[in-house]
Symmetry: C2
Subunit: 211 residues, 2 copies
């Protein structure tokens, strides 16, 4: 599959590049946070913010007053999600590497219109805690009105991913040093309820740790 545009054409370690939609979705869906790059009169900014995917768009949200959200509707941005999966220990210092999955999306964010704001924010909750939307107090008119939701198309996107062990030079293979991968992953720790709660524990809480 080819890169969808010049700026999504991966040049460094191009053998790790992919323009596959299933991989892109998987990388984005595994993320709670993306990093958004944009520029203004003070230069470039790199802002972490919560994100979620619906179909072929990535969504973010924030307060109406956010300077970033205003700016993002006026100019193109680059949104990146990165998962670090391990440290790759080679026999030579130079050939050390990391295993990772990353996705970059280029384009212009657009305002999600009021009619789609409710379902978009409900999908966000579903991403965080499936079924919870029906349990909490939903947003009221004032809260919805104070919230801006933006989305960016996934049309112009690229992924990079590395897996597996070190790629050593042939002449280094006999060096008697430990070589391999030190893997890492996002771990879900035991849920911490607010003091005094005695009600039923929902599935997204009881199944959180160890999943």
């Amino acid at each position: 599959m080819n890169a969808p545009s010049g700026r999504t054409q991966v040049r460094r370690a191009a053998h790790n590049a992919s323009y596959d939609s299933a991989l892109l979705h998987a990388i984005l869906d595994a993320a709670y946070v993306c990093h958004v790059a944009f520029a203004d009169e003070h230069g470039a900014h790199c802002i972490p913010t919560a994100c979620w995917r619906i179909g072929e768009h990535l969504y973010i949200h924030g307060s109406n007053g956010s300077r970033m959200l205003k700016r993002l509707m006026e100019q193109d941005a680059c949104v990146t999600v990165t998962h670090v999966d391990g440290l790759v220990m080679a026999r030579s210092a130079f050939n050390h590497s990391m295993n990772y999955r990353s996705a970059m999306v280029y384009g212009r964010f657009e305002l999600v219109p009021d009619a789609e704001k409710h379902p978009a924010l409900e999908a966000f909750m579903e991403h965080l805690a499936p079924g919870r939307q029906q349990e909490v107090r939903p947003g009221n008119d004032k809260e919805y009105a104070a919230t801006t939701v933006l989305r960016i198309s996934l049309d112009e996107a690229a992924c990079k991913a590395r897996t597996g062990g070190p790629k050593d030079d042939e002449e280094d293979m006999s060096i008697p040093v430990w070589a391999g991968v030190l893997p890492m992953a996002q771990q879900r720790l035991e849920a911490v309820p607010e003091p005094g709660f005695t009600g039923p524990v929902p599935a997204y809480v009881s199944g959180w740790a160890g999943s």
Copy 2:
């Protein structure tokens, strides 16, 4: 402590902001990867890359041919490190939040001169795997010559961090829904050695998982 500059002055959720050097160091030292934002004629870019701290600088490295590294010496950048620590479940949809630690560094990257390149890259290895530099084949002249190391001063930096449970509105406190935090952390998984290795296992490998 005050923000070191206008562009590091946190405006959103300013009660979560900090300009404390110890917190900044801790957030950076817990990271393997940062996101670097910069702009060129194609717009803004957000590139994940390995990073490590020495004193009051954050370091990155790459191939001499890297367009990003060239560009970063010509204009200011913004470097961000983010750790997501948990999902904060409030009684109302609107008050949901995340626990996190993030650091943003603004400024111009500078080239690390040849005389400091060796110790800088050795410090990188020490960050990844303490003691390993003495075990592997060190870089040769050609490998060092092919590698560019850049650093950015931590003078212009800001941190944001949120911890603890939800902050609910008073009138929502009696809603009988589970509320609290779903914590997460970076987990180190069992090391995966290359096939056939029978030598001694160094401490940074045997102590990796569960640490």
